[in-house]
């Protein structure tokens, strides 16, 4: 359907894509959209490549995003961006976390972590590079990296009308609320107004 928007979140098992998709889909439902979200559990989660797909609009049918269909690709890990880039619309946006997690073949020294990924992606698509790891570290907990990326995502998708901070409050444990809101705001600030998709 033409008016359906597609958000693809990719990363490595354990990076917190599930919390982000939960906050994201909750906010979108509260804003009145029809929403479908899809993710795969099980074996892939053991350090494997993971993806979460969120589709929203007036009426959504398929829960999954096909090749060349994503309006935005948010990659929690640098190399994973490249694994999923073929799912992005040629005019779509990439939000890329400058954060490398070497996979098993790289750890074992069998292959090298590919170099120059960010530059290569910048040549191919509209790209925002975010050092969410550093930002999260400054805030005081490397784990809130995911919510930094959420901030950059919703700003990029022009979804700032939704009260995300309320959704975050309802989605995380009380002692982590402040930290996550800080992370969210930092993510929002990473995207300039002229970069917002109309």
């Amino acid at each position: 359907m033409k008016n359906t928007k597609n958000i693809l979140l990719v990363g490595v098992g354990g990076q917190g894509t599930i919390l982000v998709s939960k906050i994201l889909s909750t906010g979108l439902v509260e804003a009145g959209y029809d929403v479908k979200m899809s993710e795969i559990h099980g074996m892939a989660q053991r350090g494997g490549s993971v993806s979460t797909q969120v589709r929203y609009g007036e009426k959504v049918y398929s829960p999954i995003i096909g090749l060349g269909e994503a309006d935005i690709l948010v990659s929690f890990e640098t190399m994973e961006t490249l694994r999923w880039l073929d799912h992005l619309k040629p005019e779509g946006i990439v939000v890329i976390n400058d954060y490398e997690i070497p996979s098993a073949p790289i750890l074992m020294g069998k292959v090298e972590y590919p170099e120059g990924i960010i530059e290569m992606i910048q040549e191919k698509a509209e790209t925002r590079v975010i050092k969410a790891g550093d930002i999260a570290e400054e805030i005081g907990n490397p784990k809130v990296m995911n919510v930094v990326l959420l901030g950059a995502l919703v700003k990029s998708m022009n979804l700032m009308d939704i009260d995300w901070e309320e959704v975050i409050k309802a989605s995380v444990k009380e002692e982590f609320v402040d930290m996550n809101i800080k992370a969210f705001r930092a993510g929002v600030e990473c995207v300039a107004y002229e970069e917002v998709k109309s």
Binding site: K36, I40, G42, S62, G66, L67
Partner: protein, 590 residues
């Protein structure tokens, strides 16, 4: 307000609203969360069973006793439960009964991608196929009505994409249904041959009634649009078809897929010019539609293998593809799943992988990853429990062929309870000579940490009797049993050497909690907390890569300086690498 729910959550909600009294399952991706969510409702007795056959049989007992019941499993779980399932097709129900089969097109987490819709046809059981979470919920309620009205078991066929994708669901109230009286009825519930012979006549009559129902029910409906193209579809494939054809086609949405509404389909077919059948995996509907003399296009175009998606359907029907960004995909390194940092299985397989002239039969669970590089310590994986019995058969043949090869079976704790016990009995009874290694990580780990008979807790987290593996093994007749801590490499090596020295069957129980497990009071008492971390003293590291050969994801070999390094955040301090390092370059951090 509507709520976002996964298909599994919606099935659980449906069970609650449908007044179900009893539910049982064995965990298996993608079905696991069904019972976990049902367990939240106090109104329902919900239980993890040791395996799917037991789950179905306990549900059948509850159903005959008058309760509304549910059993859930992944597709291959129904193979285990096929025996009671087929006979339920004959006896029918007292209280309503629904069986959820969660198939895995695309093999996201399974050993095959069998299409369980054929089971419904073969067992003569009614079948429903939802296409989103709302339908998952509604169809459990509908299944109960059909089950009790027609006196049949109803199967709901789910798929991974449905189980694990979220869509909006309108919640309703629970409808309390009284438990029906139990009346002894041998001709119905006791399938001795004389009774079963009559029951077969009964079930054929029931199928005639269900065929009539299928042609009348609004579970099977038509959406008229342009009549040049007609699409028959069911399950999540229907959503893909809607995505691809939009309003340029008319749809026959099949929700009740066995028996198929053939007469209604025939009328639909007469109205449209070209008729497509779009279904995931096998041509289940297509075969029956073609057998009824209705011409349609199905698997000539739509792939029979793997999961479908809108792209695949579009390419298959129209030959068109979306524009994509061109780039060199070969730059991307693989990212296969691995055993976690600190996984006790790794420590065990590290020692086992050193054994020469050995066949290692494996089983289903996290530890299946012991077969991946760099450990490569597993030759075979077939199905739950198979490691132990396959090892026995293989060893017998090696002996017959004067081959001295040793055969080692590796099986998890939950898998041992599931179907390894009878296999071990086979080894004892038939004078086998295998080494069975039970990798007891104190939880059903792969599916996301479900309790099992060995953990001391029920599905609801209430206290349960802890069933110990060692006394079971001994009671089955195994004389040589050792329980070891796999993180102690010396102890592990000694146990394997000891087992190899014996000329009789032995069992090694490798007992240590999953590195991701939230320790229970029993775990803390027995193992203490797993704390600390290890680091590499790079002045001492000689770059031999021994630590890397354990496959621990916390260890990274830094090529430019030819030294290892350990990621402190990931490391849990299991100290396997420390024991493996030949120059004591790995140390425990403060």
């Amino acid at each position: 307000m509507k709520k976002l729910m996964t298909g599994n959550e919606a099935i659980a909600r449906g069970a609650f609203e449908a007044g179900i009294h009893y539910a049982a399952a064995y965990p298996g991706t993608p079905s696991t969360e069904i019972l976990e969510n049902i367990a939240r409702f106090k109104e329902i007795i919900a239980e993890w069973a040791p395996n799917e056959k037991v789950a179905v049989e306990s549900a059948v007992g509850a159903c005959y006793a008058g309760a509304r019941t549910l059993a859930a499993m992944k597709h291959v779980g129904l193979n285990v439960a096929a025996d009671p399932f087929f006979t339920m097709g004959y006896t029918g129900v007292n209280g309503g009964m629904v069986l959820i089969s969660a198939d895995d097109p695309g093999l996201h987490s399974s050993q095959n991608e069998q299409d369980n819709r054929y089971y419904a046809k073969m067992a003569k059981v009614a079948m429903l196929e939802p296409s989103n979470s709302q339908e998952c919920k509604d169809m459990v309620i509908k299944a109960m009505e059909i089950s009790e009205k027609y006196d049949v078991l109803v199967m709901i066929r789910m798929t991974t994409r449905l189980c694990h994708s979220k869509s909006l669901v309108e919640e309703g109230e629970r409808k309390e249904v009284p438990i029906k009286p139990y009346v002894k009825n041998q001709p119905k519930y006791n399938v001795s041959p004389a009774n079963a012979k009559q029951l077969h006549l009964v079930v054929e009559k029931k199928l005639d009634e269900l065929r009539k129902f299928s042609n009348e029910t609004d579970l099977n409906y038509i959406e008229w649009n342009d009549k040049k193209i007609g699409v028959i579809s069911a399950g999540v494939a229907y959503q893909y078809a809607k995505e691809v054809f939009g309003e340029n086609a008319s749809y026959f949405k099949v929700g009740f897929t066995f028996p198929l509404p053939i007469e209604k389909i025939r009328k639909f077919a007469q109205e449209v010019e070209t008729l497509y059948v779009i279904e995931e995996l096998e041509p289940f509907m297509e075969e029956q539609i073609k057998a009824a003399g209705i011409s349609c296009i199905g698997k000539e175009r739509i792939p029979i293998t793997w999961e479908l998606n809108p792209d695949i359907v579009k390419r298959a029907i129209f030959g068109t593809e979306n524009d994509t960004i061109e780039y060199d995909r070969s730059l991307v390194a693989g990212r296969p799943p691995t055993l976690c940092a600190g996984c006790p299985h790794r420590a065990f397989y590290y020692q086992l992988s050193k054994k020469k002239d050995t066949m290692i039969t494996g089983d289903i669970g996290c530890y299946t990853l012991g077969g991946a590089p760099p450990l490569n310590a597993m030759d075979t994986v077939v199905c739950m429990g198979a490691s132990v019995s396959m090892a026995h058969g293989a060893k017998k043949v090696f002996e017959m062929n004067n081959d001295k090869k040793r055969v080692v079976a590796t099986i998890g704790d939950s898998t041992f309870f599931h179907s390894g016990m009878t296999s071990l009995l086979d080894v004892v009874f038939n004078n086998g000579n295998t080494i069975t290694c039970i990798l007891d990580n104190r939880i059903t780990a792969m599916t996301g940490h479900q309790d099992n008979p060995g953990t001391g807790y029920t599905l609801q987290g209430e206290d349960a009797k802890i069933v110990e593996i060692e006394p079971i093994v001994k009671a089955l007749g195994i004389k040589h049993v050792r329980t070891i801590n796999p993180l102690n490499q010396k102890e592990t090596k000694e146990a394997l050497d000891w087992a190899y020295s014996l000329d009789e069957p032995s069992v090694i129980i490798s007992r240590y909690p999953c590195a991701l497990k939230k320790y229970t009071k029993y775990d803390l008492e027995e193992f203490g907390p797993l704390e600390g971390y290890c680091y590499v003293d790079q002045d001492l590291c000689i770059g031999c890569k021994k630590c890397v050969s354990t496959g621990c994801p916390a260890i990274h070999f830094l090529k430019p300086i030819k030294k290892s390094s350990i990621n402190k955040v990931q490391c849990v301090g299991c100290e396997l690498c420390l024991q493996v390092c030949p120059v004591k370059a790995i140390k425990v951090g403060e």
